[in-house]
């Protein structure tokens, strides 16, 4: 999952060959790599590809700071979906 998400961010959202490869612990927020619209694209990508719904209340730094955090959030949402 992390490879898939990192790959999407790297190729579709960043799409800048000058940038060093994205790491799982790179802060997407502090580095200002992505703007709000790019983050929305990421949210839509997660919703489509991982069959989850991202509520506005979940749009927090904790959930979207890094690729690792995003993966943890997606897993949590998937598990919640399974339980429901």
């Amino acid at each position: 999952m992390d490879e898939q998400i990192r790959g999407y961010i790297q190729t579709e959202l960043l799409n800048d060959p000058e940038l060093p490869p994205l790491r799982n612990d790179t802060s997407l927020l502090d580095s200002h790599l992505l703007d709000s619209v790019a983050f929305l694209d990421l949210v839509l990508y997660l919703e489509t590809n991982f069959q989850i719904t991202v509520a506005d209340a979940d749009l927090t730094r904790d959930n979207f700071e890094t690729v690792d955090a995003i993966c943890a959030y997606v897993r949590k949402r998937q598990q919640a979906g399974v339980r429901a």
Partner: protein
């Protein structure tokens, strides 16, 4: 006031206020606005901060002397308008039909046409006139409105509000605002969340209302850009404009101002403004429109007595100039 007396008096005052709110919602508009003007005149006589800070701050911000009589006329008008603004919210809290009768919308077609393109619409405004009732009024008209705003005092954990008063304010906000709009997008929860929510609403072809004149909160200062306002170099957040420009969303201006009879007001929506290449320059255009609206009807601007906010906006620096440093964008284009 000693503590035991305060413990009794505060709930009684708050309960009376709650009863008055219910009564006010049932009062016919013509009477309610007349009473509001009388209350405003009383506020003006009773409060030094209205009589003094408004003319003083205006003179400093505008960088030009304000004749005493003119300053007092504007201060008195300000006091009346604030009370009438509260009545607007009560009218809307009562029902949308009553608000339709007292607030006409001019330029609604601009908004409809903007939405036809499918990229949403960004309505930029300021803390001007009945800015909250205007949002509710547009929602009541059927527009899908999301409002970007800071939390009201009753929505925070801040102390200072009694339980009854907190409940009264929440009940009012629910009735005059929340039931008419799709979503409230709070500022102060981190720019990340706010920005993504704005983008999401615009992508869903909704109308997002953004106030451009509040000073940035400390956490957002790094994102603020230089913004000319009344000839002063202030710093404001261009976030919503940046997102709108990225998405190709039309940007319009909106102002609600009161008619001379006090009982009626007009919500005016401009045609889409022509965006500049850089969002900061578009922000400057929008601020020029806000400045024009304030100069045309100075008593409508909520911030005149808010010395703390004007200081945060750097508008009270003595080096202020009156020359406009950005292009004028008329409200109606």
């Amino acid at each position: 006031m000693n503590a035991p007396l305060r413990r009794i008096r505060v709930p009684i005052t708050d309960t009376l206020r709650l009863a008055m709110t219910q009564l006010s919602m049932a009062t016919p508009a013509s009477v309610a606005y007349r009473l509001a003007c009388i209350q405003g005149e009383r506020d003006y006589r009773r409060h030094d901060w209205i009589r003094q800070s408004i003319p003083e701050n205006m003179a400093t911000v505008l960088g030009e002397p304000l004749p005493h009589a003119e300053g007092q006329r504007i201060a008195l008008e300000y006091a009346r308008l604030r009370r009438c603004e509260a009545v607007d919210r009560l009218q809307l809290a009562a029902n949308a039909r009553r608000m339709r009768a007292v607030m006409q919308i001019r330029g609604a077609d601009h908004l409809r046409q903007a939405l036809e393109a499918g990229h949403g619409a960004l309505l930029c405004t300021a803390h001007y006139g009945s800015y909250l009732a205007a949002a509710g009024r547009l929602g009541a008209e059927g527009f899908p409105i999301s409002l970007i705003r800071a939390r009201f005092q009753e929505e925070t954990d801040e102390l200072g509000l009694g339980k009854v008063e907190r409940r009264r304010r929440k009940m009012l906000a629910r009735r005059y605002l929340e039931r008419y709009i799709e979503e409230t997008i709070f500022t102060g929860d981190g720019q990340f969340s706010t920005g993504v929510q704005v983008a999401r609403r615009l992508r869903q072809n909704e109308v997002v209302i953004s106030f451009l004149d509040p000073p940035p909160q400390e956490a957002d200062l790094t994102r603020a850009v230089d913004a000319p306002f009344f000839g002063h170099a202030t710093r404001l957040l261009p976030g919503s404009i940046t997102i709108a420009q990225r998405l190709g969303t039309p940007i319009l201006m909106m102002f609600a101002y009161r008619a001379p009879d006090y009982a009626h007001s007009t919500l005016e929506i401009s045609a889409p403004i022509t965006p500049e290449a850089a969002p900061a320059a578009t922000l400057a255009r929008c601020l020029a429109a806000i400045e024009d609206a304030i100069r045309a009807r100075p008593a409508e601007w909520f911030y005149w007595p808010r010395t703390d906010i004007l200081q945060d906006l750097d508008l009270l620096s003595v080096s202020g100039a009156t020359e406009r440093s950005s292009p004028t964008a008329p409200i109606s284009q």
